[in-house]
């Protein structure tokens, strides 16, 4: 059944992986466009294989399509070869389910997963023939919305979007669509709709806020108008057992990155690692019950035919009764030949018993994230993992037969010295030594330790939101030290570009003036900046110059505690005073207990849910 436009057929023969552009997957939802009231184009600003691996899109797709008079369809960014062919033939971007052009949709929704996808977002609007700026879309139609982690500071995109959803999306999206439906019926204007939408918890309408700047370029004030709230609170879903979760999703015909069933077992994280934005944005820590997880796993396996389940969350090994959960699932997964995998393992709760219960991790090496090389540095970032724990864990792994260990680190962390950077290499060497000292290590196979060092990007709503990112020169120097001091042939070192991290830092803590840069970028054909083959740092620098903006102001400037941030009118429950306290503790090298050990009064208890109200 072909739904895509007829002219597409001919170009499909010319592009890589045409299966990305044809739809027709089992369980994709096809409705009659004349019989629904509101059409929502869910746009993922990256290629099909990445978008189809994303759990959020599956949840929201299911939640919207459950409502008979809503129809949510999927749109992905066409890869550069397809984009070129579409442009050549004037074929506008279309949705996979109906093949309708995106410009026919009531809502165009994006998920904001990473800063480097911003050009793709605007490029997708451009390919759809939809005006980029919100003010150039005066009608109650083509409402452009977004949610996801980067919505916590959406200011660099503020001029383009009508609405941002803050926090958990499964309820608020539906409420806003419902409001739109009412407004359509009564013939209300777009302005009226937006004013009313701004009253819904979790809805941020950027056009209802006037931002003024100080002489030095910092924000002076952000004043709400038309009755919009002074603080926009994120939406929070407390009960994960009753929250909507899909029983099925479109099963891709071509292989995608995470080609398996993915079930969310908990939301939030107890840890409070100071660099991690998600750890603060998604508070409080809320678990699903074993029975709910089991039911959802069974339903999804039964509808999709996948033989692998990923139990996903920010930190699945923190699930309070993980072994019981795995045993409960094993009642049926073994006979059905379904394997279980955990996407994130922590160094401090890895055990042979756990490994026996999850089979699929055996396929490749083991990955852990100590994040920093020295204990001092790990204390600064509140990654409460010790060297002893790491060495104990790798010893368990060696005894169990693993020989490949991958360790993730960050460089450019606050207070970091060259000694802290070199400690990464020492740690790698100690893991190699532990292998040779282990009497039960596998015979005949050498150990391989890969150390991967990413450049730290300071993010809003973390204790490091005031920190000026290391300059690229300094990051390059640190990378050079890592490269040249590698102590062992069994250790390999890799790192990511400082340039992309710099750009991420600019947009992560950027303000509305950056909209001009993004608009120019898209005019000039920028896209897929998270892909090395498309990223052109020098051209980006030229754009900043053209717009009269200094990227260093956003990325490398250390802020004072009294500065008003572009995102200060957005409220994720965690108090700014708490983040200041955490920042000070970081610089003193003091750790903070996790939510399970002790409440640190961050502010997330305002939601009256999850671990904040449960007995510890």
């Amino acid at each position: 059944m072909k739904m895509y436009p007829k002219e597409v057929e001919k170009i499909l023969q010319k592009v890589q992986k045409p299966g990305r552009y044809v739809g027709g997957e089992t369980h994709s939802v096809v409705k009659n466009k004349d019989e629904v009231d509101v059409r929502f184009a869910f746009c993922f600003p990256d290629i099909y294989e990445i978008g189809m691996s994303h759990l959020g899109i599956k949840i929201l797709y299911g939640a919207m399509n459950q409502v008979p008079y809503f129809w949510c369809e999927r749109v992905f960014a066409p890869w550069v070869d397809m984009e070129q062919e579409m442009l050549k033939r004037n074929i506008p971007l279309y949705a996979l389910e109906s093949g309708s052009p995106v410009k026919d949709f009531d809502f165009i929704g994006f998920t904001l997963q990473y800063e480097l996808s911003y050009t793709n977002i605007l490029n997708m609007l451009k390919l759809s023939g939809i005006p980029l700026r919100s003010k150039d879309r005066p009608d109650l139609f083509n409402i452009v919305v977004a949610g996801g982690p980067c919505a916590c500071n959406p200011e660099p995109l503020a001029d383009f979007f009508d609405i941002f959803f803050l926090g958990d999306g499964e309820e608020v999206d539906i409420e806003v669509m419902e409001l739109y439906r009412q407004c359509k019926k009564t013939g209300a204007s777009k302005d009226e709709f937006l004013m009313r939408a701004a009253q819904i918890e979790g809805v941020y309408v950027p056009s209802l806020y006037d931002v003024e700047y100080n002489q030095d370029g910092t924000v002076k004030s952000c004043i709400p108008k038309e009755g919009a709230p002074a603080k926009v609170c994120k939406r929070n879903v407390n009960n994960m057992d009753s929250a909507y979760f899909p029983e099925t999703f479109p099963v891709p015909l071509i292989e995608v990155i995470h080609d398996r069933v993915s079930v969310e077992v908990l939301r939030g994280c107890i840890r409070g690692c100071r660099f991690c934005q998600a750890g603060f944005l998604y508070r409080p820590f809320r678990e699903k019950s074993i029975e709910t997880i089991d039911r959802q796993c069974q339903a999804l396996c039964a509808s999709t035919g996948y033989d692998e389940i990923s139990l996903s969350s920010l930190s699945t090994s923190d699930y309070s009764s993980l072994n019981e959960l795995l045993d409960y699932l094993h009642r049926w997964t073994e006979t059905e030949k379904v394997s279980l995998s955990l996407p994130s393992l922590r160094v401090d709760n890895f055990s042979p018993e756990l490994m026996e219960r999850v089979n699929s991790v055996r396929k490749s090496g083991l990955t852990f994230a100590p994040e920093a090389g020295s204990q001092r540095m790990r204390d600064v970032i509140n990654k409460n993992v010790t060297e002893e724990e790491l060495l104990r864990t790798v010893n368990v792994a060696f005894t169990e037969g693993w020989t490949r260990i991958k360790l993730y680190f960050m460089i450019g962390l606050p207070t970091e010295t060259i000694d802290d950077v070199l400690a990464i290499l020492d740690l790698g060497k100690k893991v190699v030594d532990a292998f040779y000292a282990n009497k039960e290590k596998p015979r005949g196979k050498p150990v391989e330790v890969s150390l991967s060092a990413a450049a730290f990007v300071p993010k809003p709503f973390t204790p490091f939101q005031w920190f000026g990112q290391d300059t690229m020169e300094l990051l390059h120097e640190k990378q050079y030290e890592l490269k040249t001091n590698n102590p062992s042939r069994r250790v390999s070192v890799s790192y990511h570009g400082a340039e992309t991290s710099f750009l991420e830092a600019v947009f992560a803590r950027g303000d509305r003036r950056l909209c001009a840069v993004l608009e120019k970028a898209v005019e000039q054909g920028f896209h897929f900046d998270s892909w090395d083959e498309c990223f052109d740092f020098n051209r980006w620098m030229e754009l900043f110059k053209l717009c009269g903006l200094d990227p260093v102001f956003y990325a490398n400037r250390t802020r004072g505690f009294d500065e008003i941030f572009p995102w200060d009118h957005l409220d994720y429950g965690v108090r700014k005073e708490f983040l200041i306290e955490e920042c000070k503790r970081a610089y003193e090298g003091l750790t903070t207990p996790n939510c399970l050990e002790k409440c640190s009064n961050c502010g997330a208890a305002c939601y009256k849910g999850g671990i904040c109200i449960e007995n510890r």
């Binding site: 072909k2 027709g24 015909l253 071509i254 035919g305 030949k337």
Partner: protein
């Protein structure tokens, strides 16, 4: 245990599923069908499946086949119905049979090429002209690089039909485990010899044995 042959068609959007992705698709459908299929033994057991001849990406197949093993005896028509229910919309099970020939008996395939053309007669003449040459050398693109290849011995024209803006060509080409020739190479020849770039939809109608009888 019994080996059975699943005959299926792969049309519409399914023609854009690569061979590797097709095996994944089949494996999910077989799992959902709850047929008593045999799993390979070893550390990572998977459903045993073997295909006669992989179909090129972008080519439709009207009668493709794969072999699976059933660990219990069952009515093959019931098995076909069960599997059909769980396949994507554009993959249909035609029937399940007991295999007669082994897969290495496959020697040729019959294809239909459906050309979009404003002047189908002229295009037909071009094809005739090229096919009457003693050798037809085209550049064959592969992972190892491009190389020259004579497609002449591998093609036999069966039939031509001229319709208002359409040219339908039926042909046979080599299709065996020793080597297969994709009919898109004929399009490549038209491009190289005549500088034309006609667009054609290609369908593999069926697989043939050495004596040109249908694969069974």
């Amino acid at each position: 245990m019994k080996t059975v042959r699943v005959w299926f068609s792969k049309t519409g959007v399914a023609k854009y599923i690569s061979h590797l992705d097709l095996t994944r698709c089949m494996s999910r459908a077989l799992k959902l069908s709850k047929l008593p299929v045999w799993y390979t033994e070893g550390f990572n057991p998977h459903i045993y499946m073997t295909f006669a001849m992989p179909l090129s990406l972008g080519v439709e197949g009207l009668r493709e086949c794969m072999d699976i093993r059933l660990t219990e005896d069952m009515e093959l028509s019931a098995a076909a119905r069960q599997l059909a229910e769980h396949l994507p919309k554009d993959i249909s099970v035609l029937e399940i049979t007991e295999p007669v020939l082994s897969f290495d008996a496959t020697a040729f395939a019959e294809y239909e090429l459906c050309f979009d053309s404003k002047d189908p007669q002229a295009l037909a003449d071009v094809l005739d002209e090229i096919l009457s040459l003693d050798s037809i050398i085209v550049m064959k693109h592969s992972k190892k690089g491009d190389k020259e290849f004579d497609i002449k011995p591998h093609f036999a024209l069966l039939d031509k039909q001229i319709e208002p803006v359409l040219l339908r060509v039926k042909l046979q080409s080599s299709c065996s485990q020793e080597g297969s020739v994709n009919p898109s190479l004929l399009l490549e020849a038209v491009k190289q010899y005549k500088g034309l770039e006609p667009y054609a939809e290609i369908t593999r109608i069926k697989l043939l044995a050495k004596d040109f009888s249908d694969m069974r």
